[in-house]
């Protein structure tokens, strides 16, 4: 069990669905949604939220800066 748990929040209206964040994620958290946003892009979302460790790798490679990352240390 990981000692930290993270979560990402994607600004779905601004996401262009380029998928650059998907190979950047070491724990394969991110997937593309079946739904599309207002611009017609399949946006990124947390497909596997339990695996997120809040490393922010996805956010720093996101060309549009749409990902915010949150992280907590788990208590015991």
């Amino acid at each position: 069990m990981a000692k930290v748990q993270g979560a990402i929040v994607v600004d779905t209206d601004r996401c262009k669905g380029c998928e650059v964040c998907i190979p950047a994620c070491p724990t394969e958290v991110i997937g593309l949604a079946n739904e599309v946003n207002g611009k017609g892009y399949h946006y990124a979302y947390m497909a596997n939220p339990d695996a997120c460790i809040g490393c922010a790798n996805c956010a720093i490679v996101c060309p549009d800066g749409v990902i915010s990352v949150y992280k907590v240390k788990k208590v015991a």
Binding site: G17, D50, V61, C62, V66, V69
Partner: protein, 267 residues
């Protein structure tokens, strides 16, 4: 397992887009390295607290609208003339931090004269150079930086060196000039590359603070629309084809050429 609602709280925030990037939706294609490069520069300016003291010069090309996205003072220069405009700004306001943000069509084609003379004079500015080997904005025509054999809309059978000339390594060229102090080549396709680029931009602004001369950062980037690939594929293509010709790493540090400038291919 904690609920996501318990994690997504203001105090747990570790990363979000810097305030120095405006909320305007970037005009770039999905997956374009320009967005990442913009954000890196703005993060560095934010972290150094230079928002009110920095003047950026936008080029002509895809990043012509950089002033719409960067929340600092910006000037949009004529095609290729960003270093000349930056010279004027820096000389009239020497206390301001001045950087140019240019693509390869701007810096290495129409603006070659300005680039070389500004670098030779050693104006105390920072130059950010995005190299994707193509004229992205106008429809993917061949640029001076296009690789040998690379297909573009004006070289549909690939660039032929005999009739179209050799690709231009402008970064190596200007590193030879006495006015440049820090010259490096980076990329923005992986988290590790982004972190390295950010370090380089930090160093560039430090060099400018110490008034040592030109700091020049080339960022090898993708143009997935121009290369006609998906963003992830274009990043892989870039590693496979661009990096052997445009090797990553420092070319000139502290005014001295780096001797072993080996090709360092990162995935």
């Amino acid at each position: 397992m904690m609920d996501i609602k318990d994690i997504v709280k203001e105090e747990n925030l570790v990363y979000t887009k810097t305030k120095l990037m405006t909320d305007n939706i970037l005009s770039y294609c999905p997956g374009c390295g320009h967005g990442t490069a913009h954000r890196i520069v703005m993060e560095v300016i934010d972290e150094l607290g230079l928002q009110s003291q920095t003047v950026g010069i936008a080029p002509v090309g895809c990043s012509v609208l950089a002033y719409d996205f960067m929340n600092i003072d910006m000037i949009q220069a004529a095609h290729g003339r960003a270093p000349a405009v930056a010279t004027g700004v820096k000389r009239t306001m020497p206390d301001k931090y001045v950087f140019t943000y240019q693509g390869d069509g701007d810096l290495a084609a129409i603006g070659t004269a300005e680039t070389i003379h500004v670098c030779n004079r050693g104006e105390n500015i920072t130059m950010i150079f995005i190299n994707n080997g193509i004229y992205g904005m106008t429809g993917g025509q061949m640029a001076p930086t296009t690789l040998e054999g690379m297909k573009t809309s004006t070289s549909p059978y690939g660039r032929d060196l005999k009739s179209m000339g050799n690709p231009l390594k402008i970064t190596e060229l200007i590193a030879q000039l006495p006015g440049t102090y820090y010259v490096t080549r980076q990329a923005v396709h992986t988290p590790a590359a982004v972190r390295k680029t950010k370090k380089a931009v930090f160093k560039a602004f430090e060099v400018q603070k110490e008034k040592k001369g030109i700091s020049f950062i080339e960022i090898v980037s993708n143009c997935n629309s121009g290369w006609k690939m998906s963003p992830v594929k274009s990043n892989e293509w870039m590693v496979e084809h661009m990096f052997p010709f445009y090797p990553m790493g420092d070319i000139k540090v502290d005014g001295e050429l780096v001797k072993s400038n080996k090709a360092e291919v990162k995935s």
